[in-house]
Amino acid sequence: MQSIVANPNLASRAERALWWPATRLLLGLTVLLGLIYPLAVTGLAQVLLPAQANGSLIVQNGQVVGSALIGQSFGKADEFWGRPSATASSPYNGAASGGSNLGPANPALAKAVAERIAALKAAGPVAPGPVPADLVTASASGLDPHISLAAALYQVPRIAKVRHLDAGKLQQLVLQQAENSWFGSQATARVNVLRLNMVLPRG
């Protein structure tokens, strides 16, 4: 090493021996991994799987009404409510995902949950039993398309009343929409809120 420092020609050669291959390799791999790879995958996806690659959009009467994967804000008494959403500026903001980040002991969390319970009970009759936890707590993404099956059944009495439907038949409809989770039971089954609301009949 001493001899390299003593001889400026050798020093610059040793440096070139690192900087030049580093630059060349970085730029070469940037083109391959940063342009060719993502553009090739985009091309393949757009040809083979265009529906998924563009957002799994649901079209009704020629109009896009949503995505099968993204939740929407529902708050009227005659529709099933989804999970509370903590996204910036408005709930279910699909351009600003995120959770509340409230810690378990934060008084703001207990206050928000208490208010949501009150709002649910004020909107109409609910099923007996404790309030399903997922229905009154914010999701991680703020865009959760699902609620638990329990959370859907909990709202059946209200929607049956407002829409003048038979509660038993509505419950059947909810159960038809339920999806099981892997290795799960009815306690871990879930319902896509948008799809459920799309098939709700009027009484």
């Binding site: 995958v41 998924q52 563009n54 009404v65 993204i70 959770g99 002991a105 949950v113 399903p132 991680a140």
Partner: protein
Amino acid sequence: MMLQFFCLQGVFMLLLTLSAHPMGAWLAPLAAGRVSGRWQRVDAMLLRMAGIRDEGMGWRQYALAVLVFNLLGALLLYALQRLQGLLPLNPQGMGAVEVGSAFNTAISFVTNTNWQGYAGESTMSYLTQMVGLAVQNFLSAATGIAVAFALMRGFTRRESADLGNFWADVLRVSVYVLLPLSIVLALVLVQQGVLQNLSGYTTYTTLAGHAQTLAMGPVASQEAIKMLGTNGGGFFNANSAHPFENPTELTNLLQMLAIFLIPAGLTHAFGRLAGDRRQGWAIYIAMSVIFIACAVAVMAAESQGNPLLTALGIDGGSGNWEGKEVRFGMAASSLFITVTTAASCGAVNAMHDSLTALGGMVPMWLMQLGEVVFGGVGSGLYGMLIFAVLAVFVAGLMVGRTPEYLGKKIEAFDMKMVALVILTTPALVLLGTAASVLLAPGLAGLANPGMHGFSEVLYAFSSAANNNGSAFAGLSANTPFYNAMLGIAMWLGRFAIIVPVLAMAGNLAAKKTLATTNGSMPTHGGLFISLLVGSVLLVGALTYLPALALGPVAEHLMIWAH
């Protein structure tokens, strides 16, 4: 619910263990510094195109090459963020990223941390995501694997100064391993619903009559390498909790497997290079033991729910739902939380800030162990091998013999490097946390009151210095103070570890390899595995218990005392 969890964990461990062997067989020749027979001509052509001569490097040269390559990578990524407003592939018209944030993000992605002070969908152009962030997802992973290769060569070469060629290692790992795996995983993710387009954001009127705008982008191609390279930087702010990044239970399982795939394969490759596969399995089992225990702990904590909310009349028995997604539930969320922090991935499918006190402590502690439970790609193995050296050293002291590992005598210089590696990250974490909770700009970032605020800061420095990247995300970290502090912690946590690891590798390669005798301690059996697990847990516990007692432990006691 516990049964569901155990089924999921069982399937996960089964698939992981089955894949460790083929993955290791794929990596082993590259770790030895060659390519297998029929690929040699392709390889020669690739190296020629890249202008690389595959000449051996000593440890100093290898370390300098790592530093130069990563410094250049950071500069390029910084420049891209600052200039993105002038560049194409920017349908949303994102402007230049602010100086402090761009500095922090450049270091974050180059060091394989992928800590994110910004929100992807409102900050980065598609060009920056693809050409900047995703490229460093590949290259930081390749760097980590290359350093692990160099250390493996240190253990297995005899009286040699040659640790291999860094350029050739990075190129081969990127092109032969990371790229093909990413292409396959990306297409499977798209099939399940992950986005892959270059369109502007989509706006429509919802069923209830509101306007909703959905962020778009080339997500799947980035998501694949984000997992395979244990990077963890989300395309979107909500990371793998976002339905467009992780739409189904299947993608969730594949993402977890992708995180552990290469770290697990590397243990097997290590065994093959050592000429004794049991050496690799011993490391794999030690990692698995800690991982499985931690996953069960997280699940147990999260399925307990939050008693402060149960008291309001909610169904506490269904678990702690704040910050979780229904499609993952308690089981798949808890497993993901453990995987992402055992490995230095840092992708999240639930908001860690909203975990129960103990459910949040486990991931924090897993990072504090030094990211050696599978760990980062490459960095997990070299970190665990440092602990293996420590374990044989401690055992040697107990019986009064010179410690050996794989026939290499462990001597003073090696132990100095081990000590440097083991002490650097705790110093960064504890000093950084202490400074932040004493200084006004540090305290200004806290989102939650009480002990949880302290936990947010401790988590941030644990994550940054150990190159994980997950967060108790309530912390407002996109400030000059945290961008600078965490940027420094990430850089030193990466390269102040890599240099001593390479120094030790160089020193080991130069030594003779001793024949095994009756007196050598076997390093493949239950005794060694217990010693290794004990060393990792003991160092982690002794270093961090006081700090954890002030944060999550105190918070847990407070919540349950109510």
